[in-house]
Amino acid sequence: MEDAVGILADSSGTAAILAGGSDLLVRMKGGFIEPDLIVDIKAVAGLSDIRETAEGFSIGAAVPSAVLGENAALKKAWPGVVEAARLIGSKQVQGRCTIVGNLCNASPAADSVPAMVAAGAKAVVVGPSGRRTIPVETVPAGPGRTSLAKGEIIEAILLDKRPPHAGDAYLRFIPRTEMDIAVVSAGVNLTIDDKGSVKTARVALGAAAPTVLLVEEAAEVLVGSKLDEATLERLAKVCSGACRPIDDKRGTIEFRRKVAGVLARRAATTAYQRAGGK
């Protein structure tokens, strides 16, 4: 890891990090980047591992989404994060893409990011000035830009150990059944008490603003409720209101607002069911 950081920090010209390459090679093909240096981090020890510890999970930066989907313990604890990671691209892309790459590409429509943000995931950043751990939502700074400094590489994503009665879910809207970039998406993470009332909640919306929106008001709507119809309607309204979407080739402002609310409802319902709620 230190070698990789050193090479990057010392590089002149344009340098790029390669894990899965499913964003980098597309940008190269389109002429958007012509790197003078490509650092392939797949060879770095430990980066291809998923480790389960007492604190939770550590997912190495070179772990492809397909491998995430094959980890039974991770799927059980964080089904929302895994299903989000498993939606990136096609089957072919799944064998290569990583959630770290997805995060650092900083597309507003990235699939894994709303789920990671809702999950309270953290990124372990290694750079010339050492190691630090930051919430994932602080990594994307705007479309295509991150807050990382030159020479910094994300080494792993950390997810906490799950308490009982916890569940998360991720839903996105695409016009076909596969292959599309999310038009709008929602990640919801809940814990409930033993009476079925929501104890903690995090709601994140994707493709609804330049970076993922962590909608605190939406979480407040959910806390204390049992996801009755009135709560879900308010949740949808708050989420629709929180959006700052654009009109583009994938959707209109009106459509994104509307469907953000619909997806938040549906994702919340699934997360609630996964947490053991009825």
């Binding site: 016009p175 059944t177 596969e178 080739k249 009106e254 459509f255």
Partner: protein, 754 residues
């Protein structure tokens, strides 16, 4: 011997069976060579510089820096393509589209090209070409382009076909009109009238193989071109003309083709590749990127259509009228004209009038896409027909049966129909189990009809019988979907031998006379006609040889089940001679035995279809899924039923994509925003159900086996079938294609509020 193309009924032995196609093994092993799979020694990489502006005058192009870059062997602009078109306006448009001469007319229009030793050098060279553009106002919308004051794309265009000759130039190149009777009077007799306007966005054929060629211009003035194309003879003619060569000096070999659907019937970059090769003195390989395919080949028209149809209480249509505005890109075409011809072709109408307007816009040049212009017109008409049926209070199938065209009907575009399939397909649909299947919540069923003319055209075929009795069939029509198998079946059928002994190949342009391209669903229709003719000529020779071997008159020799048979009592003891035996002796009876045919295949036989579609719509998001789909279409005679099914399914799938998700999206800057498969959304495997097919066979009286063209009609009904299904599922009438989720959701919400 004169060839008689008329249908005669017979019991088939080979035709109608389902053998594995001869070119299949190469395709499943990766050995088959497509446009980009060929290389020549010393070849250079060709790349094209394209305008980033929708409309701009080209003031100056400076290629000097690019020329100096090491590894660059040639740089060309329009100056390297002198005008040999000799007043032929259509050829001039092709020349200008290959490389802009005065103005860049769309985002992606070629303005210069380079040939270099590798891709990286070529890319760098493009960046060094300096183009001085004077950006002009642009217009990309078909209705906007017709408005007074719209930016003018070609100030030498004055609308043809108007009653009064116009004094001012326009973006409308032509007005055309079809129909008969008196629609005004007809509407006067109507108890119910539906009047609606519809829009369809531009789509692309979406073939998975980008355009690719290797061009090699030789110092002696000859040239070779390896290219993926639907018509190598057409490509030869056009390339030769544009480069100022004799056609006979240009040899075009067609690779296997990775999809065309009409988009590979025009030359795009091939003349440029030849010009680069000529200048560089080396072969040039030019492959389009996917981005270039969308921006700079030939998508369909975008359309704006008004329809008005009236009917009496008893369901009889009294009048039908349509005005169709079709975009052509920046060059003249006849797209609205074809739409105006096909719009009401399914119906028996006393009073009908259709008017078409061809409209120039700053988009790539419109090209044919599978039954070109028909799907959009059918979307409008079949949607309105469905609404009208509801108003009259009739079942939509019964309403169409009541008004369907029949043998003897005068079509809305002119000719009188012979025996046709629209009635039979409707009856088949009425009785199809699909119509009785139950529907659940948020689900709906729709049906629609479609029509296509089908074409014949010039066709040449060589049938050679080897001394071992095996048969080689050389054809000049490109095989897009298995026609080599079908033609082998036809040759086997006619000669009376086993399919396994026939091998069909697609020959290059030096080996056969002129062949029209594979379009208009003519591949199997025309080439089978020529194959039958060639086989009958060969049979004549086989009979003559047998007569010689027996020393009897050829009039006493018949051909039956692959054998020469001596007829008449006096020859009773002569037995039979097989094709193999006659072939083995051919060296001593007069030499190699062959049959040739050069003909213009006529009477292609119109093809009708009726489709049924079940959809489910998510009322909260507008997402629409196709649950079940059935195609019923008349094939005349299905030579190879599996490949006919494949054409039905493929056309339906393209229509479904067109209906739900595919469209060209332009920004206000006139630039295409989705030139890739990520955001130009064709159906993926999980988007579709199994597509059921029912082949009807109403023989075409103008083909010996009754064959009709089949490849195109099935793309015509899906747009309206899905719109009608949505109407039945959710009570919304969609008038804008594609019916993407944002549009459907907006319609659902408007309906809920209204």
């Amino acid at each position: 011997m004169n060839f008689d193309p008329r249908y005669s009924a017979r019991n088939f032995t080979a035709v109608g069976t389902r053998p594995v196609r001869p070119d299949g093994i190469d395709k499943v092993t990766g050995r088959a060579r497509y446009g980009a799979d060929f290389n020549m020694a010393g070849q250079l990489v060709g790349r094209i510089l394209r305008s980033p502006h929708a409309h701009a005058r080209i003031r100056k192009i400076d290629t000097s820096k690019a020329e100096k870059l090491p590894g660059v062997k040639a740089v060309i602009t329009a100056a390297d393509l002198p005008d040999f078109t000799n007043g032929d306006a259509a050829m001039y448009d092709i020349l200008d589209n290959c490389m802009a001469r005065k103005k860049a007319l769309y985002d992606g229009h070629a303005v210069a090209a380079v040939a270099a030793i590798d891709a990286r050098t070529a890319r760098q060279a493009l960046k060094l070409i300096e183009v001085d553009y004077e950006v002009l106002a642009h217009v990309t919308d078909v209705d906007e382009a017709m408005k007074h004051g719209a930016p003018l794309i070609n100030d030498a265009v004055f609308t043809e076909g108007l009653d009064e000759k116009p004094v001012k130039p326009s973006n409308v190149t032509k007005r055309s009109q079809f129909g008969h009777g008196d629609v005004h009077a007809g509407f006067g007799h109507a108890d119910f009238v539906v009047e609606r306007s519809f829009r369809t966005e531009q789509t692309h054929q979406g073939y998975i193989e980008p355009h690719a060629c290797v061009a090699s211009a030789n110092a002696d003035g000859t040239a070779d071109l390896w290219v993926c194309t639907q018509g190598h003879f057409v490509y030869r003619q056009h390339c030769a003309q544009l480069l100022g060569m004799d056609a006979s000096k240009l040899r075009v070999t067609s690779s296997e083709i990775g999809g065309g659907f009409g988009g590979k019937t025009h030359v795009w970059a091939e003349p440029v590749a030849l010009a680069l090769s000529r200048k560089a003195g080396r072969p040039v390989k030019l492959v389009m990127t996917r981005d270039e395919v969308f921006r700079a080949s030939g998508p369909t028209s975008a359309t704006s259509i008004d329809v008005r149809i009236g009917a009496r209480k008893d369901g009889t249509i009294t009048a039908a009228e349509a005005t169709l505005r079709y975009s052509c890109g920046p060059y003249a075409g006849s797209w609205a004209e074809v739409g105006a011809m096909t719009a009401f072709a399914c119906y028996k109408l006393e009073n009908v009038k259709t008017v078409g307007y061809e409209v120039l816009v700053n988009r790539p040049k419109t090209a044919a896409y599978r039954a070109p212009s028909a799907p959009m017109a059918a979307f409008a008409v079949e949607s309105a027909i469905d609404e009208l049926a509801k108003q009259v209070g009739m079942d939509p199938v019964d309403f169409r049966i009541k008004n369907a065209a029949q043998e003897g009907t005068r079509s809305s575009y002119g000719p009188v129909y012979g025996p046709i399939g629209i009635g039979p397909t409707l009856e088949a649909v009425k009785n199809h189990p699909h119509m009785k299947a139950p529907l659940g919540k948020n689900q709906g069923r729709g049906m629609a009809c479609g029509f296509w003319f089908n074409f014949g055209g010039q066709t040449c075929t060589d049938l050679n019988i080897g001394m071992d009795g095996s048969v080689s069939l050389a054809v000049g029509t490109i095989d897009v979907g298995g026609s080599r198998a079908s033609l082998s079946l036809i040759a086997a059928e006619e000669l009376g031998i086993a399919y396994e002994h026939v091998k069909a190949v697609v020959a290059d342009t030096s080996s056969l006379g002129y062949n029209d391209m594979t379009d208009g669903s003519r591949g199997t229709f025309s080439t089978s006609m020529a194959t039958i003719s060639a086989a009958r000529n060969a049979i004549r020779t086989l009979r003559e040889r047998a007569a010689q071997m027996w020393d009897i008159s050829v009039d006493d020799v018949a051909w039956e089940h692959g054998h020469a048979v001596a007829k008449g009592e006096k020859h009773g003891n002569l037995g039979k001679l097989s094709l193999k035996e006659i072939a083995a002796a051919s060296g001593t009876t007069g030499g190699p035995i062959a049959g040739h045919s050069e003909l213009v295949a006529d009477g292609a036989g119109v093809s009708f279809a009726t489709h049924i579609c079940d959809i489910e719509v998510d009322p909260e998001t507008g997402a629409t899924r196709v649950l079940r789909y059935t195609v019923v279409q008349d094939a005349g005679k299905a030579v190879h039923p599996t490949y006919v099914e494949g054409q039905y399914q493929g056309g339906a799938a393209q229509g479904i994509g067109w209906a739900l998700n595919e469209e060209y999206i332009y920004g206000k800057d006139g630039r295409l925003q989705n030139p890739g498969f990520l955001d130009y959304r064709i159906p993926v495997c999980s988007d579709l159900p199994m597509i059921d097919t029912q082949i009807l066979e109403i023989p075409n009286p103008n083909h010996p086996y009754g064959v009709r063209g089949v490849g195109e009609t099935s793309i015509v009904p899906p747009l309206a079938a899905i719109a009608n299904a949505l109407s039945n599922a959710a009570g919304v009438r969609m008038t804008h294609i594609p019916m993407s989720p944002p549009r459907v959701l907006a319609a659902l919400e408007a309906a809920r509020e209204g």
